[in-house]
């Protein structure tokens, strides 16, 4: 390489935050110039470009291996021109799989899995890099310093997690710590459901809309992709990806070819420009996921990924240990206590339940569905029929109306979800833990129960 600028020294240019430009030329000498979304650095002398729609570029390279690339530093707007020589096209192997994983993640984020299809990974040797003279009157800005949590912050959150003795406390400590200790102010904490096909939000911080209970299919979006891969996914150019997918979708609609299907709403901040998700794994299995959003471009780096991965692993292992402990409460400690419901004021809360999918409404507002909805309905039915307010996890686990799977039922996770959802909504019905595997039902109004049938 005949340049004094090492590839690694300009790695910010390769995050995809600012589109790159590639020029190629046919054997006839006719140039072609187009934007491309991202350049991948392979080593000190090579880059790879994903070949999806580059039909003209690909044809030119077959005739003339030279290419010219423009890249921009997204923080300083310094611009560089790279001279490349096409080396080879790979349709399998490590580089291809790495680029395909990137394309798959983009497709999953934008809900266009049927459209984004990596044809090949084009490998280029970099023969020259030169900075293009920019406006001499403009001041050179300082690049922003990294803001990833340091080891002290990670140790502090680790210590806080290690002091937790029950699941609800662990979840609350984790979400508070991500915000207050590590400085991630827009975070989701999700757990894998009983089927292993969906992740549901058990706690969140920094989102306007109520997000506890929100679900993400495994394999979809940044979060679902992190769970599928069992590896972190970091996207710093969500703004560009949205525009890119929107342009392709519109082009598809105008071409009257089969549409790639409706856009999937991306969970998280609607204006997010960066998103990072890491799997929470314990004992070789995915327990859930952590996700952080930012409204800044390229907000998360490798150090953020490492920090979040560490605390996600700590959380997952603590969660599994506590869950096993709560499941194994001896029968004598778990004996149900039948408390009497106190006299209630004249205000009445209407609870409507749909047995079909467990969705449950309080005074006409949706609260929750699935197993958590069935748990609430079971508790309220017993409360209404017998005046019971004390319950145990063990008796709930034996309740056939909950339709829990026989193996790994996630009951404790669902109880946390229900508890947090009721708290978040400031509902007149709350769950309060009274001991390991035991809890109390607080009801501050009269209640009217209504089991609905959607078929009627």
């Amino acid at each position: 390489m005949t340049t004094d600028i090492p590839l690694r020294s300009i790695e910010r240019c390769f995050t995809g935050v600012r589109p790159a430009v590639i020029a190629t030329a046919a054997a006839t000498g006719t140039p072609n110039v187009t934007f491309l979304s991202r350049v991948h650095v392979l080593d000190d002398e090579r880059v790879a470009l994903s070949n999806q729609f580059f039909s003209k570029t690909a044809r030119n390279l077959a005739e003339n291996p030279h290419a010219s690339l423009l890249i921009i530093d997204p923080l300083t707007f310094d611009e560089y021109r790279m001279t490349l020589v096409f080396e080879r096209r790979e349709r399998r192997g490590h580089v291809f799989e790495s680029l395909r994983a990137d394309i798959d993640a983009i497709a999953a984020i934008t809900g266009m899995q049927d459209v984004f299809n990596l044809r090949a990974a084009d490998i280029y040797r970099v023969v020259d890099i030169r900075q293009i003279s920019s406006n001499p009157d403009a001041d050179h800005p300082d690049a922003a310093a990294g803001r990833a949590p340091d080891a002290v912050a990670i140790a502090e959150l680790s210590a806080r997690l290690s002091r937790c003795s029950e699941l609800g406390e662990l979840v609350a400590t984790m979400i508070d710590g991500l915000d207050q200790v590590l400085g991630y102010h827009h975070v989701h904490l999700l757990l894998l459901d009983e089927s292993g096909r969906r992740l549901y939000t058990v706690a969140s911080r920094g989102f306007d809309a109520e997000s506890v209970g929100a679900e993400v299919p495994v394999g979809h979006g940044v979060i679902g992709t992190a769970a599928t891969r069992g590896a972190a996914v970091r996207v710093g150019n969500l703004g560009q990806l949205r525009k890119y997918s929107q342009a392709i979708r519109q082009s598809w609609e105008e071409s009257a070819e089969p549409s790639p299907g409706p856009a999937l709403p991306m969970p998280g901040l609607p204006e997010a420009r960066s998103r990072m998700a890491v799997p929470a794994m314990a004992f070789g299995a995915v327990v859930g996921a952590l996700a952080a959003d930012s409204t800044e471009d390229d907000a998360f780096g490798p150090a953020d990924e490492a920090a979040l991965s560490i605390v996600a692993s700590l959380f997952a292992n603590a969660f599994e240990a506590l869950r096993a402990e709560e499941r194994d409460v001896p029968p004598d400690r778990a004996r149900p206590a039948v408390g009497l419901a106190p006299a209630q004021p004249a205000v009445t809360t209407h609870i409507r339940h749909f047995p079909e999918d467990g969705s449950t409404f309080i005074d006409g507002d949706y609260l929750i569905k699935g197993v958590a909805g069935r748990i609430l309905w079971s508790l309220m039915t017993q409360y209404d029929d017998e005046g019971r307010v004390e319950f145990t996890n063990r008796e709930l686990r034996l309740d056939p109306t909950l339709q829990l799977p026989g193996f790994k039922d996630n009951l404790e996770s669902r109880l946390i979800l229900l508890t947090r959802r009721l708290d978040e909504r400031a509902a007149p019905i709350r769950l309060r833990k009274t001991g390991r595997g035991r809890f109390h039902l607080d009801v501050s109004t009269s209640v009217r129960l209504d089991a609905a049938d959607r078929g009627r």
């Binding site: 430009v21 020029a23 140039p31 611009e79 703004g239 342009a247």
Partner: protein
């Protein structure tokens, strides 16, 4: 070849990227800083950085040029291909067009892609020259299945 709407699009604050080719056959990517289209003459006048030796080495009479105009908000893109006619110093009208173009482009980038305006302005060259070229082919370059389709009614 050009509808009124197309001319309006090309002359707006679209990001302009330029492909040229040296005598050795090596292509070069650059940026353009304003485009004026003469639909009747099938020609255009493109503003290029005045100080870019590599670019100047690839541009001479009858050298080939490609210019892609992309709306930074929607990514709608159109590519023009043709032959360079001349490169000459800018006129006062060119300088006004350069300023108007920068204002529009940088405003769109700041709105659509974020970034401080003062930083984005670092991309602009200190001075520009004017490059006249014929427009022989027009292609849709918008990402998607129609990319590469000719828009000037000619067979590819």
């Amino acid at each position: 070849m050009f509808t009124t709407e197309m001319v309006s699009f090309l002359q707006s604050g679209c990001a302009l990227v330029v492909g040229t080719v040296g005598e050795d056959g090596v292509p070069l990517a650059s940026r353009g800083w304003g485009l004026d289209v003469d639909a009747g003459e099938r020609s255009a006048r493109l503003l290029l950085p005045a100080v870019d030796p590599a670019l100047r080495n690839t541009i001479s009479r009858d050298s080939r040029i490609a210019v892609t105009a992309t709306n930074v908000r929607t990514l709608r893109s159109v590519q023009l291909k043709g032959l360079v006619r001349d490169v000459e110093p800018v006129t006062e009208a060119d300088r006004e067009r350069f300023q108007r173009y920068c204002n529009e482009l940088f405003g769109d980038i700041a709105a659509a892609d974020h970034g401080e305006r003062v930083l984005i302005e670092r991309l602009a060259p200190g001075d520009v020259v004017a490059c006249g070229f014929t427009v022989d082919e027009v292609f849709d370059q918008t990402p998607g299945p129609a990319a590469g389709t000719r828009l000037d009614g000619e067979d590819p």
